[in-house]
């Protein structure tokens, strides 16, 4: 039984650094809504929200390419929340990083256990 993310996270860390420009990322202030166990990695429902965010980036740290999506909230965004469905290659951490209006960053991490991977490997 493999429990831990099965790939090194270097690419994911690079993606985070690109997004934050190397700034410190605080824990908390971001809600990441993901199932604990996903039977099918091809379509995993994920929701993110963060009070006061201008953008939220979503990453799947164990995927072949960690980037998933970036939500940029415009002037008429009714709230800073969005949800979508994503692919996960296997059990891994899903990370949401919010860019706040004051230029700070916050993140949330959640492990999702995947029964059947979603990258056709």
């Amino acid at each position: 039984l493999t429990v831990l993310p099965f790939r090194a996270n270097a690419a994911g860390e690079d993606a985070i650094a690109d997004f934050t420009g190397g700034a410190d990322v605080a824990e908390g202030g971001v809600n990441l809504d993901a199932p604990e166990i996903a039977e099918n990695g091809n379509t995993v429902p994920i929701g993110v929200s963060a009070e006061g965010a201008t953008a939220i980036m979503l990453l799947a740290m164990g995927n072949p390419t960690p980037g998933v999506a970036t939500f940029n909230f415009g002037e008429l965004a009714g709230s800073t929340m969005a949800s979508t469905r994503i692919r996960l290659a296997g059990t891994q951490d899903v990370v949401a990083i919010a860019k706040m209006a004051d230029g700070s960053f916050a993140k949330a991490t959640k492990e999702v256990k995947v029964t059947i991977g979603g990258c056709g490997g």
Binding site: N42, T43, V44, G47, A60, N63, P64, T65, G67, V68, A69, T70, F71, N72, F73, G74, E75, L76, A77, G78, S79, M81, A82, S83, T84, R85, I86, R87, L88, G118, C119, G120, G121
Partner: protein, 109 residues
């Protein structure tokens, strides 16, 4: 991949001024990730929708970039503030340069 792409949007037809409404969108698209191989072992090239935007009367509400990790038939749910009567414009940008659009009118009464 420009065949059988059909956007579907669920949005209210009316709202009160300044109301926050929830929008649900889904577009049929294979979102080929570029990771899969065909039966001969050749990699199937990536072909996805890489960007989705929602504007109201030309003002941006959501601009989303998508990577191959977004599932087949991309589904997005989000909130938009409706300040006045007008149109919600939805645009999806395909890797191959195709642009798919949908519009929903919202009446403020």
């Amino acid at each position: 991949m420009a065949d059988n792409v059909k956007p579907r949007v669920k949005a209210p037809k009316s709202a009160s001024a300044g109301e926050v409404v929830t929008i649900k969108t889904l577009i049929s698209h294979t979102m080929e990730s570029g990771q899969r191989k065909d039966s001969d072992g050749n990699t199937i090239p990536r072909s996805i929708i890489n960007r989705f935007t929602c504007e109201f009367n030309g003002t941006m509400a959501l601009d989303m970039t998508m990577e191959p990790a977004i599932s087949t038939n991309p589904y997005v749910e989000f909130d938009v503030t409706i300040p006045e009567s007008g149109d919600l414009q939805f645009t999806w940008y395909d890797d191959d340069g195709s642009i798919y659009e949908d519009t929903k009118s919202v009446e403020v009464g």
